[in-house]
C-alpha cells in the first residue's frame, strides 16, 4: 500500500508536468494547427529565467512573474516573426520552424544563461509529508495544485469570457471565425502567449523538484507531445488525462516492472492505445466528408 501510494504520487507529479506541456501543445494546435516543438523550451525559460533573475538579486516571486512575462514575450515573438511570416506553409514546414526555434532558444540559453543545472528553493520547504507510509514532498502537492489551478483558470477563461469564446471559435473553424469578425491572427498569437505562460509556470513549479538547465525542454516536449496524442490531439481534457496517464505509467512501470524498460513500457502502452483508438483516448473518430 505504501509503495502503491508512493508510486501514485510520483506518477501524478511527473504526469502533472507532462499534462501542462501537453496542454500547451493543445492550445497552439487548436488555434493554428501547428505542433509547437518549442513548447518544452517555454518550460526551460520559466525555470532558468527565474533562477537567473533570482541570482541577480530580484526577489523570487517577482522573478517568477518576470519569467512568465518573458516567456510570453518569446511566445509572441515566435508567433509574430516565425509562424506568422510563414503563413500558408504546410504542416511539416511549420513543425520544422518550431524545431528550429527550439534549437535557437536552447542555443541562446546556453550563451545567455549557462550550461549548469540549477534549482530553486521549494515553496514550502522540503520536509516530506508522511501519508499512509509514503513520503510526499510538499512541492509535489504545489505542482499538482498548480496544475489544477491552471486547468480551472483556463476552463473558466474559455467558458466565461468573450475572448475565450473567440479562441474556441477559431479552433473550430478559422474561416468562419474570421467571417464573424474575430481577428484570428491575434487569437493565434494569444494562444502562443498563453501556452508559453503555462509552460513557464510549469517550469517554475517543477524546478525545485526536477532541477533545470538549458536542455530540459527537449525531453519534456517529447513526452508532452506523446501525452497530447495519447489523450487525443486538440482536446484539452485529453491533454491533461494523457499527461497523467503517461506519468503514472512511467512510475508504475519503474516501480513494479523494470526501471530499465520503463520508458519502453510507457511507449508500448501508447502504441497499443493508438492501435485500438487511432484518435487517442478522448478523440472521437472523425467521419471523413467527401
Amino acid at each position: 500500500m505504501a509503495e502503491f501510494v508512493q508510486f501514485l504520487f510520483s506518477g501524478l507529479t511527473v504526469g502533472a508536468v507532462y499534462a501542462l506541456v501537453a496542454l500547451g501543445f493543445t492550445l497552439i494546435y487548436n488555434a493554428s494547427d501547428v505542433i509547437n516543438f518549442a513548447q518544452g523550451e517555454f518550460v526551460m525559460l520559466g525555470g532558468m529565467t527565474t533562477v537567473f533573475l533570482g541570482l541577480a538579486g530580484i526577489p523570487l516571486p517577482l522573478a517568477a512573474l518576470l519569467a512568465v512575462i518573458f516567456a510570453m514575450a518569446v511566445g509572441l515573438a515566435l508567433h509574430r516573426f516565425a509562424i506568422e511570416t510563414a503563413r500558408g506553409a504546410n504542416a511539416v514546414s511549420l513543425i520544422m520552424i518550431t524545431i528550429g526555434a527550439s534549437i535557437f532558444l536552447r542555443g541562446a540559453a546556453q550563451v545567455f544563461f549557462d550550461k549548469q543545472f540549477h534549482t530553486l528553493p521549494a515553496f514550502f520547504g522540503s520536509e516530506p509529508i508522511r501519508f499512509v507510509g509514503a513520503a510526499i514532498l510538499p512541492q509535489s502537492l504545489v505542482v499538482l495544485a498548480g496544475a489544477v489551478v491552471i486547468v480551472v483558470l483556463l476552463w473558466t477563461f474559455i467558458d466565461r469570457t468573450l475572448l475565450g469564446k473567440a479562441v474556441i471559435a477559431t479552433a473550430v473553424n478559422r474561416l468562419a471565425a474570421r467571417l464573424v469578425g474575430i481577428d484570428t491572427r491575434r487569437i493565434v498569437g494569444f494562444s502562443f502567449a498563453i501556452s508559453a505562460a503555462i509552460g513557464a509556470v510549469a517550469g517554475i513549479l517543477i524546478t525545485p523538484i526536477t532541477l533545470t538547465n538549458y536542455d530540459v525542454g527537449t525531453l519534456l516536449a517529447l513526452k508532452g507531445f506523446a501525452a497530447a496524442m495519447l489523450g487525443g490531439m486538440g482536446i484539452a481534457a485529453g491533454a491533461v488525462i494523457g499527461g497523467l496517464v503517461l506519468g503514472l505509467l512511467e512510475a508504475f512501470a519503474a516501480g513494479y516492472l523494470s526501471s530499465q524498460y520503463k520508458d519502453a513500457v510507457a511507449f508500448l502502452v501508447i502504441l497499443t492505445v493508438l492501435f485500438v483508438m487511432p484518435q487517442g483516448l478522448l478523440g472521437r473518430a472523425k467521419v471523413e466528408r467527401v
Binding site: F7, S10, V17, D114, Q116, T119, L219, S259
Partner: protein, 385 residues
C-alpha cells in the same frame, strides 16, 4: 530578396573557410569536447580550463619556443560528429597533439584516427577500455570507473558492509560504471543484491528507491551517474527517509552537486580527486599547491565552482606540455615517448606515473574518499569508518 540571402550565405561560408585556413607557425593542440549536449558539464569546464591555461602558457612565452594554438571543436556528445572533427584536426588543422574526448563513447570512436595519424592523444574520459589494451598513442588522465568502484568497495569493507543496491543512470557514464562495479564486486567481496536504473532526463526516482528501500538485506546504496540525476536521486533518498549509507560516484565531483541536492547530500560519500578538498589537504600533501592554484585560477576566471572534470583537462594539458619540454621539441613521436615516461607528475587528479604498460599512471591513492558534511566536502580518513 533571394539573391541577398544567397550572398550572405556565400559570405559566411567564405569566412568559415578563412577561419579554418589561417595557418601559423604555432604548435596546434586539438581538443574535441562535448561542450554542448548531455555531457556539457564535462566539456564546458574542460574547454574553459584548456583555454585559460593555453593563454597562460603563451603569456609565459610558450613551450620550446613556440606558442600554443588551441583548436576546440564541440561534438555535442555525438561520436559521429567527433569522428569528423578528429579527421579535420588531423587533415586540416594538422595538430601536433590532442587533448580531449569528454566521454568514453567519443574517445573510443576517435582513437583509430589518432593511432593511424600517429598523434599523441590524451583522453579525458573514464572507461578503462581506453587504455586497456594499451594503445601506443593513447593516454588518459581521469581515474577509471573501475577504480572508483574499488574505492567505494574498500570503504564499504571498512564499515563491514557487503550487500549493496545499485541505482544507475542509463546514459553513457552511469551504465558503464555500473558494468564495471558489477564486474569487480565479487573480487572485492561485495554482493550486489538489487539493481535499479533510470533514464537520462528523468525527474523522479522515488519508484526505484522505494523498491530499494523495500528490499531486505541491502546495507548500502551506490548511485552511478553524472549530471542532474544523482542530485535528484539524493533528494528522493532523503524524501523516502532511507537511512542506509549512500555512495555517489566521482561523476558528481563538483560543488554543484551539493548545491543541487541541498541538505539531502549530508552524509553522502564519494570517491574523488584531491581537487575538491584543496583547502582541507594537510600542508605536506604533495598535491596541495597544484590543486589550490588550479582551483583559484578556475574559479576566478570562470566564476563557477571548480570540478574535477576541468581538472582532468588541466592534467592532460600539463602532462603534454611537460613531456614536450622534456623532449625539447614538438616532434610527435618524441613527445609521445616522453608522455609515456611521465613520472611523479603532480596533477589535480593525483600523482601520475606512467609506463609502457600503464597509460594512466594513477593508483587508488589518487582517489580520496569524501563525505559531505554541513554542505561541504570533508576527507574520510582511510583508517576510520
Amino acid at each position: 530578396m533571394m539573391q541577398k540571402y544567397m550572398k550572405i550565405a556565400a559570405a559566411s561560408i567564405f569566412a568559415a573557410c578563412l577561419a579554418v585556413g589561417s595557418a601559423s607557425a604555432q604548435v596546434k593542440i586539438g581538443a574535441i569536447l562535448s561542450v554542448t549536449g548531455p555531457a556539457s558539464f564535462l566539456g564546458d569546464p574542460e574547454k574553459k580550463t584548456l583555454e585559460m591555461y593555453v593563454a597562460d602558457i603563451n603569456a609565459k612565452g610558450g613551450v620550446n619556443g613556440k606558442k600554443l594554438e588551441l583548436v576546440v571543436y564541440d561534438d555535442g556528445g555525438k561520436p559521429n560528429e567527433a569522428l569528423t572533427f578528429a579527421k579535420r584536426l588531423v587533415d586540416e588543422d594538422k595538430i601536433t597533439a590532442m587533448v580531449g574526448g569528454s566521454t568514453t563513447g567519443v574517445t573510443l570512436a576517435i582513437i583509430p584516427i589518432f593511432e593511424e595519424a600517429q598523434i599523441p592523444f590524451i583522453s579525458l574520459a573514464g572507461a578503462i577500455q581506453i587504455i586497456q589494451p594499451v594503445r601506443k598513442w593513447v593516454f588518459k588522465t581521469p581515474h577509471t570507473d573501475t577504480m572508483a568502484c574499488e574505492k567505494i568497495f574498500a570503504d564499504l569493507k571498512r564499515r563491514n558492509l557487503t550487500k549493496v543496491a545499485l541505482i544507475s543512470g542509463t546514459a553513457a557514464f552511469g551504465k558503464s560504471m555500473r558494468d564495471q562495479c558489477v564486474a569487480v564486486a565479487p573480487k572485492a567481496g561485495i554482493t550486489v543484491v538489487h539493481e535499479e536504473s533510470y533514464g537520462p532526463g528523468d525527474t523522479d526516482m522515488t519508484p526505484q528507491l522505494t523498491n530499494i528501500k523495500g528490499k531486505a538485506g541491502v546495507q548500502a546504496v551506490i548511485n552511478t551517474d553524472f549530471g542532474q540525476g544523482p542530485a535528484i536521486v539524493t533528494r528522493n533518498y532523503q524524501q523516502l527517509g532511507i537511512k542506509l549509507p549512500f555512495y555517489q560516484s566521482h561523476g558528481v565531483a563538483s560543488k554543484q552537486y551539493i548545491n543541487l541536492a541541498g541538505p539531502a547530500a549530508e552524509g553522502v560519500r564519494l570517491p574523488a580527486a584531491a581537487l575538491l578538498v584543496a583547502d582541507k589537504l594537510s600542508a605536506n600533501d604533495k598535491q596541495k599547491p597544484v590543486v589550490e592554484a588550479y582551483k583559484k585560477t578556475y574559479e576566478q576566471k570562470s566564476g563557477q565552482p571548480v570540478s574535477t572534470f576541468g581538472g582532468h583537462a588541466y592534467d592532460g594539458l600539463m602532462i603534454l606540455v611537460e613531456a614536450a619540454k622534456r623532449a625539447g621539441s614538438w616532434d610527435k613521436a618524441k613527445v609521445r615517448d616522453e608522455i609515456e615516461k611521465t613520472k611523479g607528475f603532480v596533477g589535480t587528479g593525483g600523482i601520475v606515473n606512467m609506463s609502457p604498460t600503464d597509460h594512466l599512471g594513477l593508483d587508488l591513492t589518487a582517489f580520496r574518499m569524501l563525505e559531505i558534511k554541513k554542505g561541504d566536502w570533508t576527507l574520510v580518513s582511510d583508517s576510520g569508518s
